[in-house]
């Protein structure tokens, strides 16, 4: 048998080069896909940009029946997206960080892996099923048992005024919170695990209690990475679609009351895209473009914050 590398050098060198280029092409599809989606969404929203210009972002009306082509503005959806995401973060981030601390510093060794797997299972539950559960289990409970109590205690605030529908911004935010728990928890756990044990030992040696070790040695060291985890959670919260669509009430409102129904960028696209055409379709494309742009920026920020810590860490160890 002839040795391949020596016997047929030119043939196999060509094959090598072709294979190399093929792999490079595979790797570059990642960037190309991003450019492609940006390009297609910009193209799709051209008509809307031409018709409404910058007014699109400050207009509160979303009405297919206004005038000849209808009038479309993004503000209610931007508002709904921001409000539900903030609610989700307020609920999910403290819970996730607490869980991550438990998983890395407190839980008995034998419990850590099973617990982590259980939290991964939470991430495997599809969005539409959270929505189903939201409609038939969560919404009735919140409407009859939780929201009236909340209104009684905090009703003097404008956020908890008005009629209680069950569906609405607060319900959507709660569901999104549940859905981002796994990712925020697992990234927080990675971040806390990258804190060197030397930090902890030093604090213990100074006589710190268990919690003081966590606060002084671990949390302050990992603060930036934990913020990165929260920002990553924000990125997921902004784009959460199905569960939100099913429990938010789907009305282009801008209301201070969190009990009121609303709509997010993703939920209005999910609801109205299939039947849309003309200016309306183009406006929905522009909403998609806004959503894409914001999530890309948020994700870039999150990656930078998380990796800044981990690379600094590897440098220290090396």
């Amino acid at each position: 048998m002839a040795p391949a590398g020596v016997g047929a050098p030119s043939g196999s060198r060509l094959a090598d080069r072709v294979f190399h280029l093929l792999c490079l092409a595979g790797a570059l599809t990642v960037g190309l896909l991003l450019l492609l989606v940006l390009w297609e969404l910009i193209k799709g929203s051209h008509l809307s940009m031409k018709t409404f210009g910058w007014k699109f972002f400050i207009s509160k009306t979303w009405d297919p029946n206004a005038g000849v082509d209808g009038a479309y503005g993004a503000l209610p959806f931007i508002y709904g997206t921001i409000v539900t995401s903030i609610i989700a973060l307020v609920i999910a981030v403290p819970l996730s960080i607490g869980t991550a601390i438990y998983l890395t510093d407190l839980a008995p060794m034998w419990l850590r892996q099973p617990l982590t797997s259980i939290i991964e299972m939470l991430a495997a539950v599809p969005s539409v099923i959270w929505g189903l559960w939201g409609i038939f289990v969560l919404v009735p409970v919140l409407r009859t048992d939780v929201y009236p109590v909340l209104q009684k205690i905090l009703g003097f605030l404008p956020f908890f005024e008005g009629p209680i529908l069950g569906v609405g911004l607060l319900t959507a935010g709660t569901i999104v919170a549940i859905m981002i728990l796994p990712i925020v928890t697992s990234v927080s756990r990675e971040v806390l695990r990258s804190v060197p044990n030397l930090q902890r030992e030093a604090a213990y040696a100074l006589g710190a209690t268990r919690w003081e070790v966590t606060r002084i040695a671990v949390l302050s060291y990992a603060r930036r990475g934990l913020m990165g985890a929260a920002v990553l959670g924000l990125g997921r919260a902004l784009g959460e679609t199905m569960a939100v669509t099913m429990v938010i009430g789907n009305a282009p409102n801008i209301s201070l009351s969190l009990f009121d129904s609303g709509d997010t960028l993703a939920s209005v696209i999910a609801n109205q895209f299939p039947e849309a055409s003309g200016v309306m379709l183009s406006s929905l494309f522009e909403l998609g473009l806004v959503l894409l742009g914001v999530t890309i920026l948020v994700n870039i920020l999150a990656q930078i914050m998380i990796h800044a810590l981990t690379t600094a860490e590897t440098r220290r160890v090396a």
């Binding site: 595979g26 819970l95 929505g131 038939f136 289990v137 606060r215 999910a270 998609g288 890309i296």
Partner: protein, 285 residues
């Protein structure tokens, strides 16, 4: 002997309180999973029967209604998505592990992670613009393409992760025997890591099996059998969505049954596969 001062006692107490709070957080995080599994079994199991797996959807309150076409549709869409996401993902993963320089790799990983964070509904819009508008019809092709876009960065990252676990000496031995690099990769590196790569693909399938948003205006859904990939096709998550927002109790029951089947499918793909592959990963490090 140390005398426990009031301050010391307070610090001890505070530590205990905060640690208990962390335990409470962990319990609260697990609670939704317990609750949703409870409801899925309670509401779903009673509506599951053989007809559910063999029959087509019927009008509300008709007996013998099923989701056979939706289950088949979901499997077809997973297959189509794999044709899009798997080859490019594996080739990209090979590039990262075998060819790319440090700088280039960092950029590609970075963009793959950013891509991973793009909302799934946006991929539906891209597929709509590329396929549905051109073909002037909703189709299985469009649905599969949208899911394939989601799959690509996932497969790329997991492929890279398992390829770097293949010992360097394997590659050196093959190259020393005169094998060209592409053959070294195809005959030595890939087969060694095959189990890990397949695991990664199945995990990615588990991720996309429950995706609904990108299918809403690409695959669209269908109440009948459809064997034409250029036409609308049913999918389990779409059927669940349609039934969940309907006004009929009978359809709600079926939505729960469908949800139970869908969760079982995603759990088998994501958890079962992980357990199955665990031993191998540790051995190869």
């Amino acid at each position: 002997m140390i005398v426990a001062s009031a301050n010391h006692r307070f610090r001890k107490f505070k530590s205990l309180a905060m640690n208990s709070l962390c335990i409470a957080c962990a319990l609260l995080v697990i609670l939704p999973l317990v609750v949703i599994l409870f409801y899925l079994v309670k509401m779903g199991a009673s509506s599951l029967n053989l007809a559910f797996f063999t029959n087509l959807p019927q009008a509300p309150n008709q007996p013998g209604s099923g989701m056979a076409n939706a289950i088949a549709g979901t499997l077809e869409l997973l297959l189509l998505a794999s044709f899009v996401g798997v080859p490019a993902g594996i080739l990209g993963g090979i590039y990262l592990s075998e060819y790319g320089g440090e700088r280039m790799n960092r950029w590609i990983r970075f963009w793959a992670d950013v891509l991973n964070g793009v909302p799934s509904i946006v991929w539906g819009m891209l597929s709509y613009a590329l396929v549905v508008i051109r073909m002037k019809a909703f189709s299985a092709w469009a649905g599969g393409l949208a899911l394939g876009f989601i799959m690509l960065p996932l497969v790329l990252r997991t492929t890279e992760e398992v390829l770097v676990l293949v010992p360097r000496s394997y590659r050196e031995a093959a190259l020393a025997l005169g094998l060209p690099q592409w053959k070294t990769i195809m005959r030595i590196v890939l087969p060694t890591a095959l189990r890990g790569i397949v695991t990664g693909i199945l995990l990615a399938m588990g991720r996309i099996a429950g995706e609904t948003a990108p299918l809403l205006f690409t695959a669209l859904g269908n109440d009948y059998w459809n064997h034409n990939l250029s036409g609308p096709i049913a999918a389990l998550p779409l059927q669940i969505f349609k039934y969940a927002i309907s006004a009929y109790d009978d359809w709600h029951r079926q939505a729960w049954a469908g949800a139970l089947v869908l969760v079982a499918l995603t759990f088998i793909l994501s958890i079962g596969v992980r357990l199955f592959s665990r031993g191998r990963f540790q051995k190869s490090t």
